[in-house]
Amino acid sequence: MNTEAVQVDERAGINLKPSSRQSEPYSIQAPVESGKTVGDITVPDPIFSCRNVDVYYGEKHAIKKVGIDIAKNQVLAMIGPSGCGKSTFLRCLNRMNDTIPSARVEGSIMLDGKDIHDKKQDVVQLRARVGMVFQKPNPFPKSIYENVAYGPRIHGLAGDRVELDEIVHGSLQRAGLWEEVKDRLDHPGTSLSGGQQQRLCIARTIAVNPEVILMDEPCSALDPIATARIEDLMEELRQSYAIAIVTHSMQQAARVSQRTAYFHLGDLIEVGETDRIFTNPRHKLTEDYITGRFG
């Protein structure tokens, strides 16, 4: 696994020594060759390990030969101009693309060493392990309590009402929403503010004890204060879960993530430690993007 990534770097002719990076900051220029990601796509003991993932929407080739690992207890940020396939890749990880008739996914995506496209892998089980939070908060048209209780109910996680209450209580607490809603659990979920709704969706997701949480621009519909709360929350949640987040805001990526992946027109251009990507990008496209020259 490791060798593959190293090979990529060698063929691309990057000198990894810091000194030469200084003198020749962007040694790699477009055109991009698919599958030739700059930086180390591997991590030790990954929860997700993806290789050569291609997604097509009918004729459209939305992401091309993407390979990347996702580490436990870390936040991976995915950035890139819109339409570059970030959401598409994220949706591969819990097979949400199954719900789009025209979508076709190829390549290998291993969760804990098992291929999620394996015949024996059940998609319901997979999604119970890999939760997802969406761009627009989408609470169900039910009460706050029922929104959180929905997952445990369908999966039969609570033996009785007392246990269900505890799960709801615990999830809301960990999502930082409990103090705000404890007196109105029977109000509809849609009566909350946007930021609260998004935290409700997070609480709903963690109520089923997932291992990975995928977040697709979770803050883009929210104001700065609500955004800050969610960012704090991500830092907390990282203790228990692996998190992959798509974001449009580079500041957010820099604040919340440990690793960053940069996508461009369906290609995964560069992966690396967040600090390194933002201070010292190695690919010209990455540099252009984070310095705001386009995107």
Binding site: V124, L126, R127, N138, K142, Y150, G151, I154
Partner: protein
């Protein structure tokens, strides 16, 4: 001239007026080359002349025709022999009916009395005079207006604006017809209903449990209490509607769910229109089907299980009505289900819900207001449905909740009371209007409520 011929003549004259206006406008600017000096196109002057001629004449003709019959009858009545003229009002109206029928050629001359024959001749004579005068009046009006307008045409005349103003007013006029229809329904039905309530107390009508309008006439006890209690009718209507809903709501809802969420596109393109064919079949066909096939079949099945089923059972009518209503429920539910945003479904799938769990607990839950609205509309249809119940439900006003017995409904009674010979002014006839008023108000309330709910629901996801 007969009115139809007169209208044709008016149309031809209007075409003539168009040419007069158009050629006059061209003439005053010296032919086609001077058109740019005209404020409007020559055809606008033509239209203006034609409209100015036709509209007033048309108004005169309509008013004349509306009142012609009443006035002539009045004169004819005065002309009747004294002995006939002094008859009580209802007998006199019978004579006048004979006169009308004779004039219309519905009956032979021998079939009516001497007095009626004379009156009919008088009627025809007066009608001839009236038509003659109308023709002359119309022609004179048209010619005068045409000449007048022609004399007023100048290059500065803003013919286009005037024509357009008239057209706009005509559009406004057309759009008010919907309002006048409602007013007409309320006014006419309510008017007759109030006359009924002056003979039978509304309390008796709304809460009485004995309905036998025929008896009231026969025993000469007009408005006698106990005969116009409409509760069995309301109960029968509700029973049949309920049976229909029990059939239509689950089948309609489940097929909408299947077609919207499960079926492959090919199956959907064929199955959806086919199910909607059920809504296009005339109700009289369902009525025949219910009376001829379903009724006897249910009776047969009932016998084999030892249950006695009336041949005009509420079950047969309700069942067939339910079939008719399936497509209403399914296409409305389909709309509502499709309006549920994908993001809600995604939210449930992302938690690991199966498709049916998503549908049952999220999609249906979200679409519920819309579906309830659709079901209310369907209930209103069931209550107002006439032919199926007329042909397949009974006439006997039984107060029962047993679907195997025959019941009657509001619409059946309206039809029974009004079809065939009827005497106006008898409570029997007027009772139909009272029933109609109740029917109108109930369905109106259901519709307003349903449309309100559906609109609120649509706004929520727009």
């Amino acid at each position: 001239m007969t009115p139809a011929a007169l209208l044709v003549a008016l149309a031809l004259l209007s075409v003539g007026a168009f040419w007069i206006g158009k050629s006059r406008s061209l003439a005053i600017v010296g032919g086609t080359r001077g058109v740019r000096n005209l404020h409007s196109l020559p055809s606008h002057y033509g239209f203006m002349t034609a409209l100015w001629c036709a509209l007033p004449a048309l108004a005169v003709i309509l008013v004349w025709l509306v009142f012609q019959d009443a006035i002539i009858l009045r004169l004819v009545t005065d002309h009747l022999p004294a002995g006939v003229r002094d008859l009580p009002a209802n007998e006199l109206s019978l004579v006048l009916n004979d006169v009308r029928n004779l004039v219309a050629g519905n009956v032979g001359r021998d079939a009516v009395s001497e007095a009626a024959r004379g009156a009919a001749d008088e009627y025809v004579r007066l009608r001839g005079i009236s038509r003659m005068s109308l023709t002359v009046l119309t022609l004179v009006m048209v010619v005068c207006t045409a000449l007048f307008v022609r004399s007023r045409i100048t290059p500065e005349l803003r013919a286009r604006n005037r024509v357009e103003k008239v057209v706009e007013w005509m559009l406004i006029g057309c759009s008010t017809i919907a309002v006048f229809t409602t007013i007409g329904i309320v006014a006419s039905v309510a008017f007759e209903a109030f006359r009924f309530f002056s003979m039978v107390s509304p309390i008796e009508f709304l809460f009485g449990t004995n309905w036998s309008p025929q008896t009231a006439i026969r025993a000469d006890q007009v408005g006698s209490s106990g005969s116009f209690g409409a509760v069995p009718l309301f109960a029968g209507t509700l029973l049949i509607s309920l049976i229909a809903m029990v059939i239509a709501v689950p089948i309609g809802l489940f097929s909408a769910i299947y077609l919207a969420e499960y079926a492959n596109p090919r199956f959907r393109t064929y199955a959806k229109p086919l199910i909607e064919v059920l809504a296009g079949v005339p109700t009289v066909v369902y009525g025949f089907f219910a009376a001829l096939t379903i009724g006897p079949a249910l009776r047969g099945w009932g016998e084999s299980f030892g249950i006695s089923v009336a041949s005009e059972s509420a079950l047969a009518a309700g069942l067939v009505m339910g079939i008719m209503i399936i497509p209403f429920v399914s296409s409305l539910a389909d709309d509502m289900i499709s309006a549920v945003p994908q993001s809600l479904r995604d939210g449930a799938y992302a938690l690991g819900a199966t498709r049916s769990e998503t549908i049952k607990q999220v999609v249906i839950r979200a679409a519920l207001p819309g579906i309830v609205g659709g079901v209310l509309l369907a209930v209103s249809r069931a209550i107002g449905e006439t032919m199926i119940v007329v042909m397949a439900a009974g006439l006997a006003a039984n107060l029962t909740a047993n679907p195997f017995e025959a019941v009657t409904t509001v619409t059946v009674q309206i039809v029974t009371l009004l079809v065939g010979d009827q005497e106006f002014d008898s409570p029997k006839t007027l009772a139909a209007f009272a029933l109609g008023l109740v029917l109108f108000l109930v369905t109106l309330a259901l519709n307003v409520l349903a449309l309100h709910i559906v609109r609120k629901y649509r706004e929520q996801y727009e």
